[in-house]
């Protein structure tokens, strides 16, 4: 469950970054979720290839077990944290650099 815990902590940290630290508040708007749905679709395809072909292998005790298109559910939470942190920073730097 170590990956499970790390993924949840990562997602909560990304939410805190967006809502409280950088105050970009993307998760309260529509554009982020529309973008995330698109990214999520591609993630299922490409992460699915990496996991079903076993380019990446997970220690069974590190994950809960349920998988979606080959990828452990933890990967989806990991992906959410990665995308939210990225877009929050991108939005934060808006108007501060390269307007």
């Amino acid at each position: 469950m170590s990956y499970t815990i790390a993924a949840v902590v990562g997602a909560v940290a990304a939410l805190a970054l967006d809502l409280a630290v950088l105050r970009t508040r993307l998760v309260l708007g529509r554009v982020f979720w529309l973008s995330y749905v698109i990214v999520f679709g591609f993630q299922l395809v490409f992460n699915g290839i990496l996991t079903t072909r076993q380019v990446v292998r997970y220690r069974p005790s590190a994950i809960l077990g349920p998988r979606l298109v080959g990828a452990p559910v933890e990967d989806l939470v990991f992906g959410f944290a990665l995308v939210l942190m990225t877009l929050s920073l991108w939005a934060f730097w808006s108007r501060r650099v390269d307007p």
């Binding site: 790390a6 698109i38 490409f46 990446v56 220690r59 990225t86």
Partner: protein, 104 residues
């Protein structure tokens, strides 16, 4: 060719989003300073996460499907590229949605 598997997945991922730059003129690559300021913290955080996960055995990589360049912390080169390619694709998608929907 099997050693190019992971790299090919990254290239395909990039190809799916990169066309947005010239076609929709999202201006992501043009705003490269903002892009660098976004990517540096993301790469730093996720590389550390990855290195810790590798060190504690949460996941591992099939050496037969990697180009074979390993960075400090036993990090495959492809993983570093992953943390550049995926955020770049996400930003391109985000800007494309903003452009098409005309919203913030």
């Amino acid at each position: 060719m099997r050693h190019l598997t992971y790299l090919a997945v990254l290239a395909a991922c990039l190809a799916c989003a990169l066309w947005l730059e010239p076609v929709l003129r999202v201006g992501v690559l043009r705003r490269w300073r903002r892009l660098v300021l976004t990517l540096v913290p993301v790469v730093a955080v996720f590389v550390v996460w990855d290195v810790v996960a590798i060190a504690t055995g949460q996941w591992s990589y099939d050496p037969g499907q990697l180009v074979g360049i390993t960075l400090p912390g036993r990090l495959p080169l492809e993983e570093l590229l992953f943390f550049i390619v995926v955020p770049l694709c996400a930003v391109l998608g985000f800007e494309a949605v903003r452009k098409v929907s005309g919203r913030r």
